[in-house]
């Protein structure tokens, strides 16, 4: 019976698309989830409180990091 069981793969074991660069993706995931960083008014940009333009700025960060990781991982 045991022999017929499929081989179990566990997280991170022998994956061919594994790459350390993927850890970099955590940056644009974790930063927008920390209101401590951006829950403030100053500095304002074009009259926009930091809260708003900083979070919009994270979009560029995410885009940049993803593009970088894509290049590195190939």
């Amino acid at each position: 019976m045991r022999d017929r069981l499929p081989r179990r793969t566990t997280l991170g074991e022998g994956r061919a698309d594994k790459s350390r660069w993927h850890w970099l993706l955590l940056v644009p995931i974790v930063l927008p989830l920390m209101p401590v960083i951006y829950n403030r008014v100053d500095p304002t940009l074009l009259g926009m409180p930091f809260f708003y333009w900083c979070q919009l700025g994270f979009a560029f960060l995410a885009s940049g990091v993803i593009a970088f990781v894509h290049k590195k991982v190939g």
């Binding site: 698309d17 644009p28 960060l61 993803i66």
Partner: protein, 574 residues
């Protein structure tokens, strides 16, 4: 007829024509397979995939409802921006694997993948049913977005919406995923115009953003509510973060997102798009700031429908023709995701219920026919929910839908990385998450009144679960979906060794590690031309004219054998 309505009708008419013409776009020999009808031939390149995914993710309801939230509460309504930023790095890791395994095995839906990965018909069906249940109210929400526009244009309720949806239903039936793919190009152009209009109008406002934000701040300061303001009050932060995270998780699991993903040509196309899509969030961000601009301009919702704030702002501040274009952006923006969602729900039904339980031997043609019919049913179901029941009901259902779809995470998303979970443990976790999630939603009262503290409705009043239910002395709230998902995961992890110790057989995994990294050009990934052009000719089979057994090579499609869809041979029937 007002200028706005004229522009709207003109754009809408053009879009309808495009939707029908899309059936002829990169015309396949036969559109009668799910690969063609439901996934557009799986051959969309960088640009089309971008338009399709952005049309799919940034829906009309988002463009209408989210600025309304900002208008009402300020910062707390801004959560879709972090949500639509963090979702892309998350997707970057999982989507390429999902794309590969689905192409190698010819899967059209996430439920098919789960069935093969964990060797469990039951879990597959559960994923399919949850997907359909979560998607239907989402379609109804698109109608709500459109309804708001009609209301501002002074159209009656009922027939205009029905007419618009009739057009949508017909072109989806006819063209499948090619319809929304082509139309989404128009949608994005219109949205871009709306964003530019906002920026130009604000630039012409004396004092620009500075004044707008100051007026908004004063406005929030005078309300007796404590949960509004230009910044997040301390008690709202946990909910803000969990809501953003939960929405990001849910977005990946919604069947319509995955449908858009599977239609792309290769892994590179997908990954390049994920790098660009965060920028699209800026358009949503600008439209959300319309909520503040509406406070500045003193816009009040039309007819008590809070969702009319954005269209009404355009109506009052933009030239009539430009307002018409903005209305069309919302109208067309509703049609694209509604079409993709109905296609996704229909595919789930066909591949995971119809073919598994009702007609295992269904031919590709029959499958497509079933999918088409179901897509019609689903759309009219959504329309009926809205017309016969009410708007609030659709919103409540969607709220539950978001929590429901999140419970498929261990099977679908973690399943891409590991088959460690026992199928029974996955089932137990999913069940527990669902029960807990719905119970917690039931517990949340709807608050309202001037200070936002009075209980208007006892139950199903939102997704922000007050932590004082636990006896904590706090006003903080948390997003229900995250709690339910955490419990789901805990149970799935804890129960797996138990079921294994009890020697209850685990399912057989039909996928191999290589399936998850295969790309276009890999011999295991069937080439598009193969699928589009039909079977590669069988090597010189002897043809007898007396006993016609094989298919006539290029003849009448009806003469093809029942199993003429390449993708369906990829894995044994489960």
């Amino acid at each position: 007829m007002s200028t706005q309505l004229t522009v709207f009708v003109a754009v809408f008419g053009a879009v309808a024509v495009m939707g029908f013409a899309a059936a002829r776009w990169r015309r396949p020999d036969s559109i009668h397979t799910l690969e063609e009808w439901g996934l557009g031939g799986r051959a969309f390149g960088n640009w089309v995939t971008f338009f399709l995914l952005s049309g799919d993710v940034y829906t009309a309801y988002t463009f209408v409802a989210v600025p309304t939230l900002v208008y009402g509460m300020g910062a707390a309504g801004f959560f879709p921006v972090p949500f639509l930023v963090i979702v892309y790095p998350m997707l970057f890791v999982v989507l390429a694997r999902f794309w590969s395994v689905c192409h190698v095995h010819g899967f059209v839906t996430p439920a098919e993948f789960v069935r093969a990965r964990f060797g469990s018909k039951g879990i597959g069906t559960a994923v399919a049913v949850l997907g359909i249940v979560a998607t239907m109210p989402y379609i109804a929400l698109q109608l709500i977005g459109m309804e708001a526009v009609f209301e501002v244009m002074g159209l009656p309720k009922g027939w205009p919406l029905t007419l618009a949806f009739f057009v949508l239903a017909l072109y989806t039936f006819n063209s499948g995923l090619r319809g929304p793919a082509l139309v989404s190009i128009v949608k994005d152009a219109l949205i871009l115009w709306a964003v530019l209009a906002v920026l130009m109008i604000v630039a012409m406002t004396p004092g620009q953003w500075d004044t707008i934000f100051r007026i908004a701040e004063n406005r929030y300061a005078v309300t007796p509510r404590t949960d509004d303001g230009l910044l997040l009050p301390a008690q709202s932060q946990l909910n803000y973060v969990t809501l953003a995270l939960g929405s990001a998780v849910a977005l990946f699991l919604y069947p319509h997102t995955l449908t858009g993903v599977l239609a792309s040509r290769n892994r590179g196309t997908l990954r390049r798009n994920l790098a660009v899509l965060p920028i699209y969030t800026l358009t949503l961000g600008v439209l959300m700031l319309v909520g503040f601009a509406a406070l500045y301009d003193g816009v009040t919702p039309v007819g008590g429908n809070a969702n009319t704030v954005v269209p009404q702002w355009f109506n009052e501040n933009a030239p009539a023709w430009s307002a018409g274009l903005a209305f069309a952006a919302i109208g067309v923006g509703a049609m694209v995701p509604a079409a993709i969602m109905s296609i996704a729900a229909a595919n789930l039904f066909t591949r995971d219920i119809y073919r598994v339980y009702l007609r295992p031997q269904a031919s590709a043609r029959e499958e497509t026919y079933v999918s088409k019919s179901v897509s019609l049913t689903v759309k009219f179901g959504a329309l009926l929910i809205l017309l016969l029941l009410n708007t609030q009901f659709a919103i409540d259902l969607q709220l539950i839908g978001g929590v429901v779809i999140m419970q498929t995470l261990p099977a679908v998303a973690l399943g891409l990385y590991t088959n460690w979970f026992h199928r029974w443990a996955l089932g137990c976790g999913m069940g527990a998450g669902l029960v807990l999630g719905v119970f917690m939603l039931w517990q949340v009262p709807k608050l309202g009144g001037a200070d936002g503290r009075q209980v208007i409705r006892e139950h199903f009043g939102g997704s922000a679960w007050p932590l004082d239910n636990l006896g904590l002395n706090t006003q903080a709230t948390i997003y229900v979906g995250i709690v339910a998902l955490a419990v789901n995961l805990l149970i799935a992890v804890a129960a797996t060794p138990v079921f294994r110790a009890l020697d209850i057989p685990a399912g057989v995994d039909l996928t191999r590690e290589h399936d998850y990294i295969a790309d276009e050009g890999d011999p295991t990934v069937r080439r598009m031309t193969e699928i589009i052009d039909g079977d590669p000719l069988p090597e010189e089979k002897p043809v007898s004219f007396f006993t016609p057994v094989g298919p006539r090579a290029q003849g009448d499609p009806r003469a093809a054998p029942p199993d003429d869809d390449q993708s369906r041979r990829a894995y044994p029937r489960l």
